[in-house]
């Protein structure tokens, strides 16, 4: 059966590549392709690029430390597969695969093999990229390639297996747990071993955090027998990447290969367990329904269940505000659960680490405040790229939006308001929390009054800067839809990367142009007042600058509104 799958994968790859090359005939894609190729060259092939593994890998204690650190990183990644899960269902089949392959005379096992086989294309590409990045030479290239391929394939298989067990256990209840009992027993043992070791080492970690050798205490924890046993398989998989000689590599590759080969039957078995658990759960559901039917003579209509509204929409008011409401609801429902989970887990880990490391509460709050301020600042740059509940999400529903009895200007403004509100609120939370965390003073010599003035300046300036930044992103989506990532999918290919680079560069230029005059005028006004009334003089300056930015946005959105009314659906078809 591998023949048709190989052919399918190859033809898909070939046709996609030909299509991408054909698009280069259009100037905009040619420019993007050029930008993408230059970027690739700069990252992978420029003469002075760093080659971390070009020379011999350090031996002795350094190699041991490297292996321990990498094993820990890999273990944490695997833990995230189990704890946070994946955004996609395990073995997600495309619509075409479901329609064409599911009714075909192919076993479920063969379908799973197809999916695992298809993943190899991306894995091999990643392997090539990493081999180039690591920069090993001579025989090291092939050895490094094989070692990385084993690592990536093992990780992929583990991710699929973990996802199947999670889905089966959460979706099929007792039946799911029963069919995956051995996996769950092993998982439970690993969790117990880690918890037991951490609890046993906690007193020494705590003591080390308050003036002792913290790194040493951490090393001791990692070398405890239970933790070492948990990390052992990860060390085996990583070992071939960090070997010094061909002989050593040969000795290390066999255990790594064994770990990979053990994953194959585990994933196939887990998928079979998934199917059996689903069938058993369905049979039990049918039995329960039958029992209810025979008891009552009829089946009670199921209660409406599912997604609930957390943000009410007032029945009356400006119609365009409904779009703001819709987009704010969208942000909560389109953020992948794993992303939200990762943010929460990151915050929890950071808090635990801070309380363990910082010797007293005052230092902890100062560190937290600085981190939050850093986060708020980072959101100015990265926020508009992450928070996309605006035209970048809605341009794919242009046909629907155009049919609404709303002017183009009101739609564009509503779209802009939605993402600006979300981004600004996030920053407000961080900035206000850090303001209170620094209530008793912080690293900067500012009085409480001066800190309050600084807070108000940020509160005034943040929405203006965010709105301007998001205006540029939305204008790009509206005026150059083929250049901007629309919706939640991520396009691939060199020219897609080039488009992203060109768009980012262009957006930064336009944003700088938008903010320049208001920033200069607001700053001059603020500095003049600063000389007379102190820090509070910056507040009117910030208000002036923000007001000017909003004025610019007002006029630009009017123009974009008329552009919206002229934009016709179907812009993306030629690009697909």
């Amino acid at each position: 059966m591998i023949g048709p799958f190989l052919w399918l994968t190859w033809r898909g790859f070939r046709n996609r590549t030909i299509r991408q090359l054909q698009r280069v005939r259009q100037p905009r894609y040619a420019v993007a392709m050029l930008a993408g190729l230059i970027y690739f060259w700069w990252i992978f092939f420029r003469p002075d690029r760093p080659r971390p593994m070009a020379n011999a890998i350090p031996g002795g204690e350094s190699a041991e430390l490297l292996l321990t650190v990498f094993s820990l990183g890999l273990a944490l990644m695997v833990a995230s597969f189990w704890l946070l899960g994946s955004d996609k269902p395990p073995l997600a089949f495309t619509q075409a695969e479901v329609q064409l392959l599911f009714p075909a005379p192919i076993t479920r096992r063969q379908l799973v093999e197809l999916k695992l086989f298809q993943a190899q294309l991306a894995i091999i590409l990643s392997t090539v990229v990493w081999v180039v990045l690591l920069g090993r030479r001579d025989e090291g290239v092939l050895q490094s390639g094989i070692a990385l391929w084993i690592l990536f394939t093992t990780m992929h298989l583990h991710r699929v297996g973990a996802s199947l067990v999670r889905t089966s256990t959460s979706g099929h209840g007792v039946a799911g747990a029963k069919y995956n009992r051995w996996t769950l027993i092993v998982l439970g043992a690993v969790i117990a071993a880690v918890l037991w070791s951490v609890l046993a080492a906690y007193p020494s970690l705590r003591a080390a955090a308050n003036g002792g050798d913290f790194v040493g205490a951490l090393k001791d924890l990692l070398h405890r027998p239970a933790i070492a046993a948990v990390l052992f398989p990860f060390r085996l998989v990583l070992a071939p990447i960090l070997t010094h000689s061909s002989m050593e590599w040969l000795r290390a590759i066999l255990p790594a290969l064994l770990i990979l080969l053990l994953h194959v039957p585990w994933v196939l078995r887990t998928d079979a367990a998934f199917e059996e658990a689903a069938a058993e759960a369905a049979a039990k559901r049918a039995e329960r329904m039958e029992a209810i039917r025979s008891r009552r003579g009829r089946v009670r209509a199921p209660r409406a269940s599912g997604t609930r509204t957390w943000l009410p929409l007032a029945p009356h008011g400006r119609p365009a505000n409904a779009i703001v409401w819709k987009n704010i609801v969208a942000i909560a429902r389109t953020v992948p659960p794993s992303t939200a989970g990762m943010v929460v887990a990151g915050v929890v880990v950071a808090l635990i680490a801070m309380f363990m490391i910082a010797p007293n509460v005052h230092d902890t709050t100062t560190v937290a405040a600085i981190l939050m301020l850093f986060g708020a600042g980072f959101l100015v740059v990265a926020g508009p790229l992450w928070i996309r509940n605006d035209l970048r999400l809605d341009m794919l529903r242009l046909e629907l939006l155009r049919a609404y009895p709303l002017t183009g200007t009101s739609i564009v403004r509503a779209e802009l308001v939605a993402s600006t509100v979300v981004l600004t609120l996030l920053q407000y939370v961080l900035v206000i929390a850090s303001y209170f965390a620094l209530w008793r003073g912080g690293p900067m010599e500012l009085t409480p009054s001066e800190r309050t003035a600084a807070l108000i300046v940020v509160i005034l300036v943040a929405p203006a800067v965010n709105a301007a930044n998001l205006l540029v992103q939305n204008a790009a989506a509206l005026l150059f839809p083929a250049w901007v990532r629309l919706g939640l999918s991520r396009p691939g290919g060199v020219e897609a990367m080039g488009q992203a680079i060109v768009t980012t560069f262009g957006s930064m230029l336009v944003l700088a142009f938008l903010l320049l005059v208001p920033a200069v005028l607001g700053l001059i006004f603020g500095l003049i007042l600063l000389a007379h009334v102190g820090y509070w003089g910056l507040v009117p300056g910030a208000a002036l600058g923000a007001g000017l930015v909003f004025g610019e946005i007002w006029f630009i959105t009017r123009w974009l509104g008329s552009a919206f009314e002229k934009q016709e659906p179907g812009f993306g078809k030629e690009d697909e």
Partner: protein, 248 residues
């Protein structure tokens, strides 16, 4: 079938032309649909039906010509014209992150429906969406998604209704209800345009028929009027007339 459209049209189209570059999608098309009338828009694939419907809804801008909906010029008063209109496409366009009920509340707010709280429950009941009111579109079947799009279209009781292949994805009971809904809305005074390849449906529901080909009007009127103008078609059904006029 009835004849002679009343004098105050719900939808009026004059000399509609739409070009895509050099390609003429619709050419000099004029017709009107009166309140209470159901106009069947038929034509072979690529005849310009979808372009015509999208132009009528304000989704695309015509290259030239005038369109009036509910007495409002679509180009001069687009908001008022669109507020009188509902377009129900063959492929339902929904927001994947809004539930069934939220779609209706959102639509009510956009169309400024004051008594939405009273209108939504019977509409959900009529379209058998009550149990799915908290479901996201991704959790709905194709037919249910189509019903949701229809519910959104009917919520503001539009004066003009445009259906593009309205029976796609519906089960037999859903089809029957859909046909009854179209008839009822027309009886309540809405001007209805129904585009479909199902000529039996068109023959059953439509008071007049507009046949287009290559973006041009081929015939318009009640079936008997079309036959009167073309005696050689006497005694034939819509399917045969359609094939004869479009050279199929």
């Amino acid at each position: 079938m009835t004849t002679s459209p009343p004098s105050t049209p719900g939808i009026e189209v004059r000399s509609l032309t739409k070009l895509y570059g050099d390609f003429v999608a619709v050419s000099d098309l004029s017709f009107s649909v009166a309140p209470g009338e159901v106009l069947g828009l038929v034509g072979p694939n690529g005849a310009g039906k979808t372009t015509t419907l999208r132009s009528l809804c304000g989704i695309i801008r015509p290259t030239s010509g005038d369109i009036s909906v509910g007495g409002h010029d679509l180009l001069q008063e687009p908001v008022k014209a669109k507020a009188s209109l509902a377009f129900i496409p063959d492929e339902p366009h929904l927001f994947e992150y809004l539930t069934v009920e939220e779609h209706l509340r959102f639509t009510a707010r956009v169309y400024e429906v004051d008594d939405a709280a009273e209108r939504i429950p019977p509409l959900l009941h009529e379209l058998e969406l009550e149990e799915k009111r908290r479901a996201l579109p991704g959790e709905l079947s194709r037919g249910m998604r189509q019903k949701l799009a229809i519910a959104c279209g009917l919520l503001h009781q539009p004066r003009a209704l445009i259906f593009d292949e309205p029976l796609t994805g519906l089960d037999p009971a859903g089809m029957r209800k859909m046909k009854a809904t179209i008839t009822a809305r027309a009886a309540a005074g809405s001007a209805v345009i129904l585009s479909s390849h199902l000529l039996q449906l068109v023959e059953e529901l439509c008071t007049r028929i507009l046949i287009i080909q290559n973006g041009r009007l081929v015939a318009i009127g009640a079936l008997d009027e079309i036959i009167t103008e073309r005696p050689q078609l006497a005694g034939r059904g819509l399917e045969e007339i359609f094939l004869a006029l479009t050279g199929g």
